[in-house]
């Protein structure tokens, strides 16, 4: 019987090892919808339906807050900082990530930054131009990225598109983000990154 008990221990050790070895995190993936541009590079578009995808609007002196109960800091140093957080959708209108947009004014310098986080793919950091271009869109440069986006560079545009649908449940509009990846970023070994 002792021999059977020890055999059970061995089986238990193997089962626990197998179970933990096989345990994994699987992110839900949506197929990427990427177009190839005529002059090289890839284009991917995202959008944020407003107001339903808006998680937070943080700015000083708001009369109504989103989310309800938000306690935005009143520190003077943040007086010119506005931050928003959204769920972000792909071209099929499926939520695929979370994004944050920060706009700040600091002396002569204005800043508008986007960070887009896609759990199954990685993240992108975009620094936008302050002045909108003709056509109402703003252009920004992809400054950094992680995982799938770590080697890509390019640019992204943002544009507000008002909704012209009469549907009762339709959003008031959407923020259209179009990312263009035009090549691979050079990241030298001096950055100490693991190859």
């Amino acid at each position: 019987m002792l021999k059977t008990f020890f055999m059970g221990i061995v089986l238990g050790l193997l089962a626990a090892a197998g179970g933990l070895y096989g345990y994994s995190v699987d992110q839900v993936r949506e197929a990427s919808i990427v177009d190839v541009t005529a002059n090289g590079g890839n284009v991917e578009s995202f959008h944020v339906n407003v107001p339903m995808d808006r998680i937070m609007i943080g700015a000083p002196g708001q009369t109504s807050t989103l989310p309800a109960g938000l306690d935005w800091p009143t520190d003077e140093i943040l007086a010119d900082v506005r931050a928003e957080m959204f769920k972000i959708r792909n071209a099929r209108d499926t939520v695929i990530g979370v994004a944050a947009r920060t706009a700040a004014k600091n002396g002569d310098e204005d800043v508008i930054d986007w960070v887009l986080h896609f759990p199954a793919r990685g993240s992108v950091f975009v620094n936008m131009d302050i002045t909108p271009r003709e056509g109402g869109y703003r252009l920004g440069e992809i400054r950094a990225g992680s995982r799938e986006f770590s080697k890509l560079h390019g640019f992204m545009t943002e544009r507000w598109v008002a909704n012209d649908s009469d549907d009762e449940d339709a959003p008031t509009g959407h923020i259209e983000l179009v990312a263009t990846y035009v090549g691979e970023r050079e990241r030298g070994n001096d950055e100490g990154l693991v190859e």
Binding site: S24, V25, V81, T102, V115, S123
Partner: protein
């Protein structure tokens, strides 16, 4: 019948021995010293509250509000903070859609070394597919966006390993009869992508525009509940700025 009982008892004993051996494996020790604690370069140290209810907003899939004890215990292993923390404020939009269900997002005030408000921090993190419990890796892929009016904006990408936290805080809390833990635990959560276990930091605007830097995030915990998440905790971000690249 006796043999079957012996086999079953042995099986469970073996499984318990393996898990205990993994949990208390001395070879999976914490990294004792942050590589940035011995740097000669200029360093920015930012602190923030890691307690969701003390942040500006904190949101996740909201499962912690309705999960059973068993579900909570199972999730504790792969997401020790997200699995237990409730969104804040309570009416914040939750991340319930399938592609973002394992993601959490936090907006918080960043404080400088004198405990004065220095700027705003936004952290978004997700369970990583590189997690391997077998090897003591409870990995989260996370990013920070930090805006400091006096310095500019920073984008921080990192992989974090919460295994030491799970082993030394979350599991003792889960095992205690009151489902909580009190004490003093301090550890670096950043595990990469830098070769020395540092985060990759990119400057976006201001004085650090275009500068590539290193960073480390650490977590200091005083109280944790297996039911409610972090109760007393503070995070710290250390960013190393190469002297030659600062104006």
């Amino acid at each position: 019948m006796k043999h079957v009982i012996a086999l079953v008892l042995g099986f469970f004993a073996g499984a318990i021995i393996f898990v205990a051996g993994l949990t208390y494996n001395p070879f999976m020790a914490d990294r004792a010293l942050s590589p940035l604690s011995v740097t000669d370069e200029e360093v920015i140290t930012l602190s923030f509250s890691n307690v969701p209810s003390e942040s500006i907003i904190y949101t996740n899939n909201g499962d912690s509000l309705q999960q059973s004890s068993l579900q909570g215990a199972l999730r504790l292993w792969k997401a020790p903070i997200r699995s237990t923390s409730a969104p804040h404020p309570i009416k914040v939009l939750q991340l319930w859609e399938a592609p973002i269900r394992s993601t959490e997002a936090m907006v918080t005030v960043m404080r400088d070394a004198r405990n004065q408000t220095a700027g705003l921090g936004i952290k978004i993190s997700s369970d990583s597919e590189t997690s391997r419990l077998m090897f003591g890796e409870t990995i989260a892929d996370s990013i920070w966006y930090v805006y400091l009016p006096e310095r500019g904006s920073f984008f921080i990408e990192q992989t974090e390993n919460y295994w030491p936290f799970v082993r030394e805080v979350a599991l003792p809390a889960w095992r205690s009869s009151a489902n909580n833990w009190r004490g003093s635990w301090l550890g670096d959560t950043t595990a990469g992508p830098g070769a020395l276990g540092t985060a990759a930091v990119s400057g976006g605007s201001g004085r650090v525009e275009g500068v590539r830097m290193n960073g480390v995030e650490s977590l200091s915990v005083r109280a944790y509940s297996a039911d409610g998440g972090l109760i007393g905790a503070e995070g710290r971000l250390i960013i190393e700025i190469p002297d030659a690249q600062v104006e």
